[in-house]
């Protein structure tokens, strides 16, 4: 049972990571990065690392995509 959950979480991370790499438009990539981070958060929880999951959730899913989008907004005007 546990192994199945671990494998599903790992597969989700792999699929989401693949989606991030294959997304070419940086704007869309920020969104796929958020999804990837959410999958990673689930993986960390499944591996019983709630501390890391919290950090990943806030930094990876919220702050980094926000920084990327704000940077794109600034550089896109040039």
């Amino acid at each position: 049972m546990t192994a199945a959950v671990l494998l599903v979480a790992l597969a989700l991370v792999a699929a989401a990571g693949f989606a991030v790499v294959t997304t070419h438009d940086p704007k869309r990539q920020a969104i796929t990065l958020t999804v990837f981070s959410l999958c990673l958060t689930v993986l960390f929880v499944v591996f019983q690392a709630p501390d890391v999951a919290l950090s990943e959730l806030a930094v990876g899913a919220a702050i980094v995509p926000l920084l990327v989008l704000l940077t794109l907004r600034k550089t896109g005007k040039r």
Binding site: D51, L54, S55, L66, L67, L69, L70
Partner: protein
């Protein structure tokens, strides 16, 4: 095939072989055998810190955490130095359309996430979490104000000056705590405060103190960092 490719391929093959060798000897996930845990668990209990991760971060290897804290501080200082604020204040008017449901959810979740962040920081030595996690949740939660559709509300309720002071002060106080430990306990960042009762809020000696300091530093640091990105990202098109 060029020499560079050959060297690169050889390096990759070497790394791959090392990885395979390492993975083959790795204990399976979730099994009872866990060398590091067996070493850390008694230490955590000795220092009356139920959250082992906090015990490691803020007590056994607090010096490492000082290094990590310095990285955050350096990132903020670098952003402040590189991204000078633009001459005129950005005029954001909230032209973007925000779904009412998003607005409502943002306003409902704002107090929840701020409270949750404070809770994670304060209970860092008891429950999963700690200074960094709580600080990041605090900073992220605060920016729900922006998601709820008002940059102006965020700009008004975001004391940047105070955040800059708080960030620097918390970073400095971490070192000061370490020096006090050096003076009294004989080693830098030594846990010199009374350890207290296992599981109570005021326990674990210096662990909650350092945790709160990191929480303040990280929350304030991220707010300052994001504020510069916001000012630049939202300024009027030229």
């Amino acid at each position: 095939m060029r020499t560079r490719d050959v060297v690169g391929a050889a390096g990759l093959a070497g790394v791959a072989a090392l990885f395979v060798a390492a993975f083959l000897r790795m204990p399976a996930a979730g099994t009872a055998g866990h060398v590091y845990r067996d070493l850390v668990l008694p230490m955590g209990f000795r220092e009356v810190t139920p959250n082992l991760v906090s015990s490691v971060n803020f007590d056994l290897r607090a010096l490492d955490t000082l290094g990590e804290e310095t990285i955050v501080a350096a990132a903020v200082v670098g952003t402040l130095a590189l991204l000078q604020p633009p001459k005129k204040e950005p005029k954001t008017d909230g032209t973007g359309y925000v779904l009412p449901a998003v607005k409502l959810a943002g306003f409902l979740l704002l107090p929840v996430s701020v409270l949750l962040g404070i809770d994670i920081v304060v209970h860092g030595h008891l429950t999963p979490g700690g200074g960094f996690q709580g600080g990041v949740v605090l900073a992220t939660g605060w920016h729900l104000l922006y998601l709820s559709g008002s940059y102006r509300a965020l700009a008004r309720l975001r004391p940047i000056d105070w955040c800059e002071y708080a960030e620097a002060t918390a970073t400095g106080l971490y070192v000061v705590t370490g020096l006090i430990g050096l003076g009294i306990g004989g080693s830098f960042l030594a846990n010199i405060l009374p350890l207290g009762e296992f599981g109570s809020l005021l326990s674990s000696g210096t662990v909650p103190v350092l945790s709160v300091l990191i929480g303040i530093e990280v929350a304030a640091g991220f707010v300052v960092l994001l504020s510069r990105f916001f000012v630049h990202g939202l300024e009027e098109p030229r």
